[in-house]
């Protein structure tokens, strides 16, 4: 059987995490090609519907990444993200999707190494977890 390769969708904020992902590229770091990125202005833009939609459309994992707490370009957007994602994780558990398939991380514009390590780690975790079970 072919090895399971998870599909991950990442919503990255334009100011910190998208720039952090660019920084990983500029530094020529390597990470698995399982992640597909959608750029948003702020992580707080992502409503639960979009996350559920991602799983519904076949994503095995969803990454939401924004500026570190206190560093949000829009002052406090990432605090809303943090609260919202905590709730969505509970909802995922309720509908039978492992909450760790949804990750929220803080990646600054200079943290290319953190971003690369994060994608590696998340991909490996999801490889072990396998596809979402239909229940």
């Amino acid at each position: 059987m072919e090895k399971f390769e998870p599909r991950i969708v990442g919503f990255l904020c334009r100011w910190c995490s998208y720039a952090g992902a660019d920084n990983a590229g500029v530094s020529r770091m390597e990470y698995p090609p399982n992640l597909r990125v959608i750029k948003v202005m702020c992580s707080s833009r992502i409503n639960p519907t979009i996350i559920l939609k991602a799983f519904n459309e076949g994503a095995d994992g969803v990454l939401i990444a924004g500026c570190h707490p206190g560093d949000c370009h829009y002052v406090k957007g990432n605090y809303f993200t943090r609260r919202r994602i905590a709730l969505v994780k509970k909802l995922l558990e309720y509908v039978g999707i492992e909450p760790k398939r949804l990750r929220i991380e803080w990646v600054s514009a200079s943290e290319g190494n953190k971003f690369a390590a994060l994608v590696k780690e998340m991909t490996n975790e999801l490889r072990e977890l396998g596809p979402i079970k239909n229940g």
């Binding site: 599909r7 750029k39 948003v40």
Partner: protein
Amino acid sequence: MKKHPRTGVYICECGHNIGGVVDVKKVTEYAKTLPPVVVARYNKYTCSELGQSSIAKDIRDHKLERVVVASCSPSLHEHIFQKVLEGSGLNPYLFEMVNIREQCSWVHHNEPEKATEKAKDLVRAAVMRATLLEPLEKPTKSVEKSALVIGGGIGGISAALYLANNGVKTYLVEKEPSIGGHMAMLDKTFPTLDCSLCILSPRMVEVRQNPNIELLANSDVVEISGSVGDFRVKIKKRPRFVDPDKCVACGACSAKCPTKVKDDFNFGFSERKAIYIPFPQAVPNCYLIDKNNCLYLNKGVCRICEKTCERKAIDFNQKEEVIELKAGAIVVATGFDLFDASEKKQYGYKCYPNVISNLDFERLINASGPTDGKLKRPSDGKSPQSVAFIQCVGSRDKNTASYCSRVCCMITVKQALLIKEKYPETEVFVYYTDMRTPGKNFEEFYEKARSKGVVFIRGKPGEITESAESRLRILAEDIDSGILLDNEIDLVVLAAGLRPPKELRDLAQKLHASLSPDGFLAEAHPKLHPTETNIDGVFLAGCVQFPKDIPDTVATAGNAAAGVLNLLNKDRIEAESITAWVDIKKCSGCGSCILVCPYDAISLDEDGKAVVDEIVCKGCGSCVATCLSGAIQQRHYTDKQLISQLKALLKDGKV
């Protein structure tokens, strides 16, 4: 809206940067199969004149309604391609950029096939998102014709003077009681051996005399809001307890003040009074009271200075003030902190009295310093017969900072020459890793030191220990000869490196500006925009970006000032187009959006429906995600656009 607007797709090889990993031909052929695509091409450099004109020609010939470019990060060239659309009569927001370099070829160079598959997915998603893009208007706003310069060292002074001399009202904020920064502490500058204060102090006086500069010394930036064109800043001005309009810096107060404390300007090598002026050439040239040490302010008795001052300049009723000001642009010039050499315990700084830092040395060799320029050992005041410099203290060191601080080699060469000039008989040794002297007349300066008998030893001492009479024993291997050297030296100078100022993190947060991994302020582009930051209207000058010498600091200050002038010379600038709007038919008037808006841009109108002030809105989209009725949408990032991109990414996608 048409289901399949006519779309052109351009895949960039970026030389071998993308083309060496991603099979651009395959991606191009794949793009042609997507329903909206009427033309797809690949080229060597899409950003080149040739690439840009081929897009413009296709917009004309194929009547394109959408353009997708897959190349580098949008942060690099998005605006270039948007201009091509504008020039060809298409709204610039009908453009979508796909990042297949920084986020694809450069990070998957060992997996070319998977990188190609990923590029195809990303292009498909961009084409589908593009079908739903809508033209946006660019609102404009007026520009506040004033600037704020944070930091009053030579960088901030230069930037402020450039701006003020061009007619810009400039606020110069300095945390210390006087401007001048580190340069005011130096004795001579390399490689010309100009007296530092002799060239600095006329510039400081110019600041004081320039009617366009409002100097706020002894002050801190506490809050920054707004954005390019209209920053609103709160400055906390600490009390001096002396009225600057009355004080003539005669010094009578200080002469009578009974309290002596260590003089921090001289790093504790001398004492000052509780009412003092940091150095004679200080600007503002006004005394101040050190509130931590003043007898009256702490114990309620004394007030001798008040009785002594003939001009009645002492004012114990002064309170901390918060000043609010507006600025169209900001220059950050907060310089550096010297590496605290006591972190390198093996060298005994602050443990052995005769181990000093390079900045301590500047005060001890300085004619206006605590020893009147006579080099004396701190332990006994004797003139040292031998001096050793140790390079790279806190720099090029995995345990502290891995970067080279750029200026310490030249500082040491200068200091070694100053010793040889004043005391030709004194033996001078320099323990170095590599001597780095790139700069105009730098190498010649280094040669001069060698010819004067300064001994340069390649080798980093492992440890310094104290021996009799506070002499210092240095053990080091001379790497060139392989000989173990065991020297006893009278005075050791540690060439401490430059670190980001400790307050920089906090300031960067207030500005929402990014830091580099080394902790200095990040520039927008290391080569083409070295004095801009990721935040429009925020510029940087001098060492706050990375260690620099004085000429480089002054040059970046000029560059930053040019950026500010470029901005302030415009009558109106573009405001954010990516804002939120409310569909009032769906709005229930619950007000949840108002609670999350960081800018107070949303209010309820007389019918109880939410309304967004689009000039105030910065377009984060928090309100969109919060709205339970789905009544708010964010322009350029609508739910429909994001979901179409998401669906297309996951459809048929293989990893």
